[in-house]
């Protein structure tokens, strides 16, 4: 059985009364219970806020907009609010995730340039890399170059980091710039020419900024839909 933990967030590790973003409250049979609500309780050992009333058997109840699910443990009851999605909604969500492409798109198309220097620089770039690559650049805001070493460099205009990839895996982020107020595309031309011809020099000039924390893409449930539906029904 899954729990909607999202409403039980806290910034305090000692006092449940200071929990934030809680619209509905959970309650336990004991005021110092730390197990009923899963991982969050591992950090919270203080009293639960009693918003309902104790019944004759000693269990705490709670109030909220809608309360639907009650899970029973060996010694006490506990609940969570009903923000849990219906089976239909969960199936729809799984379908949406399956249809969506599994790619994080992080591109910024080239904007309109008013500065004549930038327009000239773009003309030069078009001449250097050719019409097709330039069109890609306009759409994505970056160009990718395979250097002689086999590494692929993704170059951005201006002071953007150059990302280095090896077999599709990001290895490093490098920063090489043109000083003196050059238009952004001039920097890109410089990086493009250096990487293709003087990769070592480019790397020696560059300041290495390391990797960023990778974005983890949650994989949708890959089981057959019938199986998922059955298991969701069983839970509901």
């Amino acid at each position: 059985m899954s729990f909607a933990y999202t409403n039980f967030c806290t910034t305090s590790t000692t006092n449940c009364n200071s929990w934030s973003e809680v619209s509905t409250w959970g309650a336990c049979s004991t005021t110092t219970d730390t197990s009923a609500f899963g991982p969050f309780n591992n950090t919270c050992v203080n009293t639960w806020q009693l918003v309902g009333g104790a019944t004759s058997n000693g269990n705490y109840y709670f109030t909220g907009p809608v309360l639907q699910h009650i899970a029973v443990s060996s010694s006490y009851n506990y609940c969570w609010d009903s923000q849990k999605k219906t089976v239909n909604e969960q199936i729809k969500e799984i379908l949406r995730k399956r249809i969506a492409s599994d790619v994080i798109v992080n591109c910024k198309p080239l904007g309109h340039a008013e500065d004549m220097r930038e327009i000239r620089a773009r003309e030069t770039l078009r001449n250097v890399i050719g019409e097709d690559k330039f069109r890609d650049f306009a759409r994505r805001g970056s160009i990718s170059v395979r250097a002689k070493s086999g590494l692929v460099y993704q170059i951005f205009p201006g002071s953007g980091f150059t990302k280095v990839y090896n077999n599709g895996k990001m290895m490093d982020r490098l920063c090489v710039v043109l000083t003196g107020g050059f238009p952004p595309t001039d920097s890109l031309i410089m990086r493009y020419l250096l990487i293709l011809n003087n990769e070592q020099q480019f790397n020696s000039l560059a300041i290495k900024h390391g990797l960023t924390k990778p974005v983890v893409v949650e994989k949708p449930d890959q089981r057959p839909l019938v199986e998922i539906f059955k298991s969701l029904k069983k839970v509901a």
Binding site: R120, N127, T179, G180, N197, N198
Partner: protein, 118 residues
């Protein structure tokens, strides 16, 4: 439109504010915006902060201009520009030029003294 300057400024040493200049010969033409390179003309492109890209064209059929172009090429290299031969419309992979080649249609000059890590 402002008049086209016939000089190119380069830092005297790495990332310096003190500049030295390269004068463009009167025989050459500095292309204005929207002007196209005509047939028989070869082009030097300089990346400069002031212009973004300064395009100097010379006639590849005129021996005097070829000689002038060679002189200018040598002066630019001496003053910290690295020349890259590029093919028109990206048809050729850019490559560093060790010496002047009158057959190179397009040469991009990179101001190496203004490149640094960021």
């Amino acid at each position: 439109m402002t008049a086209v300057e016939n000089v190119i400024e380069v830092p005297l040493i790495q990332n310096s504010f003190v500049k030295e200049t390269i004068t463009i010969s009167d025989k050459f033409k500095v292309l204005k915006d929207k002007e196209k390179i005509s047939k028989g003309q070869h082009c030097f492109r300089f990346l400069t902060p002031k212009d973004g890209d300064k395009r100097v064209v010379w006639d590849s059929r005129d021996m005097n201009q070829i000689q002038e172009a060679k002189n200018m090429f040598d002066e630019c290299v001496a003053k910290g520009f690295v020349p890259y031969r590029v093919g028109r419309d990206g048809k050729k992979t850019p490559e560093v030029m060790d010496e002047f080649d009158p057959d190179a249609c397009e040469v991009v000059f990179l101001p190496i003294r203004q490149i640094c890590g960021g």
